[in-house]
């Protein structure tokens, strides 16, 4: 299957939160007793958590819609990075990127080291610290629905067409078209096109993204490019250090057979004061 992606067009979002409800329904997530005003405006909850894989954010801004003060919306969810830092960080490969887009996880294999939470530039994976048997939780891009040839639950229910799902190439083109055809509506930035190496969720907005609380100033280079290259050298470093040390041991001892313990050099033997 071709690489899939989703457009989250925040200018079309009316904050109805049908996507949040559909997400809970499809993923069998329990309901919460929260506060109606947990975040700005009617935003509830404040952030993603183990029971909420997506959250619509509310932001009041002076230059909201067409220059008038207004509430603008944004959406928190897993961005499904093309080169996910979380998957590169996972020591048990419980997290992995599938070829069709979703970053999926096998919570059974998780050891709970929480490096994925730390590695994620969007602070997405969540851990239920209050449970005796905890696990990592995050949006799955409805990988099971995509496998069955259907749209993710959130995209299916959105009543205003703010969420569009399809092949990533088409989605990038579609996002460019929207910005080009109505330049007054959008800031000229597709969030997720290049951020941390590109993501499978592309956000559009009428106000600069940092105003919506989106992580700003993200590098275009995927973070794993910093580390994977280094870790790739592991066997070479091991061999180099090993051989260097062996050569030093040989030179210092002035003999080729360096591997036995030098009893004579051991100042402890024959001097057993401290022991009893």
């Amino acid at each position: 299957m071709a690489l899939k992606a989703m457009i989250q067009d925040n200018t079309r979002c009316i904050g109805c939160r049908a996507c949040m409800v559909a997400c809970k329904a499809w993923n069998d997530l329990p309901g919460d007793t929260g506060s109606f005003f947990a975040g700005p405006g009617y935003q509830n909850p404040r952030d993603l958590d183990p029971h909420n894989y997506t959250v619509i954010t509310f932001t009041y801004t002076d230059e909201g819609t067409k220059g008038r003060p207004d509430w603008v919306f944004g959406r928190l969810m897993c961005m499904h990075c093309l080169e996910p830092a979380c998957a590169s960080a996972c020591p048990t490969t419980a997290l992995r990127k599938t070829p069709d887009g979703p970053v999926v996880f096998d919570s059974w294999r998780c050891i709970g080291c929480r490096y994925c939470m730390q590695a994620c530039p969007f602070v997405v994976p969540k851990f239920d610290y209050d449970r005796v048997v905890p696990a990592i939780h995050k949006c799955t891009f409805c990988a099971d629905r995509i496998q069955a040839g259907r749209d993710p639950a959130c995209a299916q229910v959105c009543p205003t067409g703010a969420i569009t799902f399809g092949d990533r190439e088409d989605m990038v083109q579609e996002a460019r078209n929207r910005i080009a055809t109505s330049p007054g509506t959008y800031v000229p930035h597709i969030y997720g096109l290049n951020e941390v190496g590109g993501t499978s969720v592309l956000h559009l907005s009428s106000v600069p993204f940092e105003r919506l609380g989106y992580a700003a100033n993200l590098p275009d280079k995927a973070p794993p490019t910093l580390t994977v290259k280094l870790l790739h050298f592991t066997p070479k470093i091991f061999t180099t250090v090993w051989v260097t040390m062996a050569v030093i041991a040989m030179v210092v001892r002035r003999r080729f057979r360096f591997w036995a313990h030098d009893e004579h050099s051991d100042e402890h033997s024959g001097d057993e004061h401290g022991s009893r």
Binding site: A94, C113, F127, P223, L226, L231
Partner: protein, 390 residues
């Protein structure tokens, strides 16, 4: 036989150590019965906190004492370091074993830890740290076991280990170099969260260097304290050698650290004296400049206390460096913050107390500190010195 001849303070300290261990064990039971949230403040934005900052990053760095001293004493065959290789191996082994113990509390799903050995995750620094740390702990056990086995009178395995002893030592050095630097790689993956004063492409090099630097520093502290409490004559030649090694390492590390900050163009951040900058300077001044100044005083070679103090400052500096990078200055959300819970720290402190207790017992039992007793104590029965603390 059970006449307790220890001074009152030593008995109180001993009770306190056991009390801390018991408290940590109780906290651990609560953690497994009710979940991490009951005893720790780690949250959705700051998932690591004190446990990783101290128990993984700092504890492993200080545990590096085993590989640096084994390399200096056994591979490089430097005379000044040879008498303390056994003590260094013991300290290193105890740091690693207590790390493993705390890790089992800190991991969210420790019962799944075996999964690491059935995975292939070469892109994960955590995977490399996990595998190398396990392998290196095995190496430490092998390096240290001849002392125990000889004591038990099992000479055959000792002969087998001694026949390939250098292979074991060298493998330990290679494994340590890998996972000490991988701890830096661990933080390198977080360019958006680690403060620019700490996030550098050289992080793996810095972490390896500071772990090497921690070696002589920990041994200075260990040798000073051990000879003091066991009432033995300190080996001034050993302390001198450690001090000289530490001087060079601290100077090199300090120059590299400041050079890197300048080269990356974040010197203005350091001079801003904001929150992060103040922690940065605390780390630099307390952990590097102050010990370097101490070590460069002219009569340092005769000053046992001053050498020990320099070592302690470097140890504090390494602790500050790791905590600063991974906890103190890490910024994720403006509305969420993290402050360690007392019980979180208690787990670490309990493990440290357990380490000290194990150390005291093992030092009494095995020929690790073989320095002659202090002259003025010579009249006291031979059992007294090693029992000062226990």
């Amino acid at each position: 036989m059970a006449v307790d001849e220890r001074p009152g303070w030593a008995r109180a300290l001993w009770l306190l150590l056991w009390g801390l261990v018991v408290a940590a064990v109780i906290t651990t039971i609560v953690r497994f019965a009710t979940g991490i949230a009951t005893i720790a403040n780690v949250n959705q934005a700051y998932p690591w906190g004190w446990w990783v900052g101290f128990d993984m990053l700092t504890r492993i760095a200080l545990g590096g004492v085993g590989f640096t001293m084994a390399a200096a004493g056994e591979i490089f065959d430097i005379k000044g370091f040879r008498p303390i290789v056994r003590a260094a191996l013991l300290v290193g082994l105890l740091w690693y074993l207590t790390y493993a113990a705390v890790l089992m509390v800190e991991l969210g799903r420790p019962w799944m830890i075996w999964q690491v050995f059935f995975s292939w995750a070469p892109t994960s620094a955590m995977y490399e740290v996990a595998l190398c740390a396990v392998a290196y702990t095995t190496v430490l056990l092998l390096e240290f076991s001849p002392l125990v086995l000889t004591k038990l009178g099992w000479t055959t395995p000792v002969r087998r280990i001694n026949a390939v002893y250098m292979f074991i030592v060298i493998t330990g050095v290679a494994l340590s170099s890998l996972h000490q630097s991988s701890l830096g790689t661990l933080l390198l993956l977080l360019p958006t969260k680690v403060d620019p004063l700490w996030h550098s492409e050289l992080l793996p090099v810095f972490f390896l260097l500071s772990a090497i630097m921690a070696g002589p520093a920990v041994m200075l502290v260990e040798h000073t304290l051990a000879t003091h409490f066991l009432k033995l004559q300190p080996r001034m030649d050993v302390l001198r050698a450690l001090g000289r090694g530490l001087t060079v390492l601290v100077a090199v590390y300090l120059a590299l650290r400041l050079g890197d900050v300048l080269y990356r163009g974040v010197g203005n951040l350091a001079l801003s004296f904001g929150f992060e900058a103040r922690w940065f300077w605390l780390e630099i001044v307390v952990g590097l400049v102050a010990p370097l100044a101490l070590l460069l005083t002219p009569d340092i070679d005769q000053r046992k206390g001053r050498l020990g103090m320099a070592g302690a400052l470097v140890v504090i500096g390494v602790l500050l460096n790791r905590l600063n990078a991974a906890v103190v200055t890490m910024k994720v959300h403006s509305w969420e913050s993290y402050r360690p819970a007392i019980t979180e720290v208690l787990i670490s402190v309990g493990a440290l107390a357990g380490m000290v207790i194990a150390y005291v017992y093992l030092v009494r039992w095995l020929p690790i500190h073989t320095e002659p007793p202090l002259a003025e104590e010579a009249s006291i029965p031979a059992v007294a010195p090693a029992r000062a603390l226990s």
